[in-house]
Amino acid sequence: MFSRLFENVSRRALVLLGALLIGLFGAPLVASDYLLTVLILILYFAYIGQAWNIMMGFAGQLSLGHALYVGLGAYTAAALYVHFGIGPWIGLLVAVPVAGLAGAFIGYLAFRFKVGGVYFAILTIAVAEFARVGFDHLTWTKGSSGLFLPVAQYTRNDLWLLRGQPVMFYYILLVAAALAFVFCRALLQSRIGYFWLAIREDEEAARSAGIDTFRYKMIAVVISSAMTSFAGVIYAFYYNNLFPEQVFHISRSIEIILGPIVGGVGTLFGPIIGAFLLTGMSETLIAALHALGIDIPGAKQVFYGFCLLLVIAALPDGIWPWLSRRIGLSEREK
């Protein structure tokens, strides 16, 4: 499966990818602390965007509740650490199955009972909201008053316990985002990838071509939710505090999916470009408004909203399909 990773990739695309990777790899050497935190956010969204894209962009199942899997991953790992001193990498071994099971639960209910389209999307929101209110009242994770990880001033980076400076998280997320990219490409080129695209395009026709659509949709949900939970674990150990109101909130779910939609649903570069553009845009707006001396809460979001409107109106398929034509990369992307 991996031997064909580079098949049909133009030299130009490889050079561009290489340059991007080298640039990102060297970035912490020159970036200020502030810029580094922005880059961490970008990589975080690029990674989750890739995971969400498996479900929506590949298999055509619109999830509007991905904050659920981030939250489950974050809370599982953080609670294990706080209560039992279990480190995040061991915690991950619990967090991934927990999120995967949650995904399987939603998928099973929806696909068995033929809940599709808009209804499926609303079911995903409902389960995430259910979890949000539920965690608000779960005393084991300190409910709505928030779960805090012990913090100290770190001089060295402990990769095993994920205690350290932002640059450590930067590299972890960079590796994760790069691996997610490669993994998604491999998936797209595999048998399962073809089946997903077929289901996305026309489920009934896919079934009549012999595809067990239930099974492959389940696989997409489980892979996507399990992948997303890893970002949750990193989130918990990076921010060191968790509030149900924040991690599970619908606006988190929306943030997650804006990037890949703006970048191009179903494309491999879409989530990355979307993350760069939206996070970059948001930070630029803050800086610009600050420079203009405008300090009104909400002003940034209003501009942000209008920018979103413009992008979606001008480029219905997202940025990447348009950009790849402009820079002469007519890859066989889907």
Binding site: R191, D202, A205, T213, K334
Partner: protein, 240 residues
Amino acid sequence: MSALLKVEGISKRFRGLLAVDRLSFDVPEGGIFAVIGPNGAGKTTLFNMIAGVYLPDNGTISFAGERIDGLSSDRICQRGIGRTFQIVRPFPALSVEDNVIVGALMRRHDVLEARAHAHEVLRRLDLYDKRAQRASSLTLPDRKRLEVARSLATDPKLLLLDEVMAGLRPTETDRIVSILKELNRDGLTILLIEHVMRAVMALAGRTLVLHHGASIAEGAPADVVRDPAVIDSYLGAEDI
């Protein structure tokens, strides 16, 4: 020749309407069997019951000696029955090649092997040169052949064709007819549901005429079209 597909006494009722009424027939292995009838005769309902979209209310459907009624459409495809849709449904955003690869992957786990098989099928259906195009950009006759190609790529023993000639010009019809004949010579059994009598006359070894969900005549096409009951049922509705 033994029966590859055996339909015994199947019925289907939608609310008040009896769409298919205790219908029985056999499709012999290696043959081309046509089901004809005026609009609303229950042809597509029959087709959908064989393909696993609807469950018959009564009766049984057997394929290669095993019951298949009640199986889901993906299982039926896996058993060896390929189908096309009356209103064509290729995967629009995928290339012609990828459309066929999806079908080929049903019995193949390796993508390269599936691609090779897809190329073979595309050549047979005169679509090889268009393999890189998006399916949505094809003309109607090309899309119809793409449907046949996708379904053939699953290596079916029996191919169900739902009005695959409808809307085609005579030259295009002749082209599909010759392709189907060739596939049949290589051992494929075909069940046609068709309006276009020209194609039925040219292809089918045996024809069943459906009217109000029931069989009113069955036999060689040339005999069937002279049957008074058939002429009666078609009279005024359409020209044969």
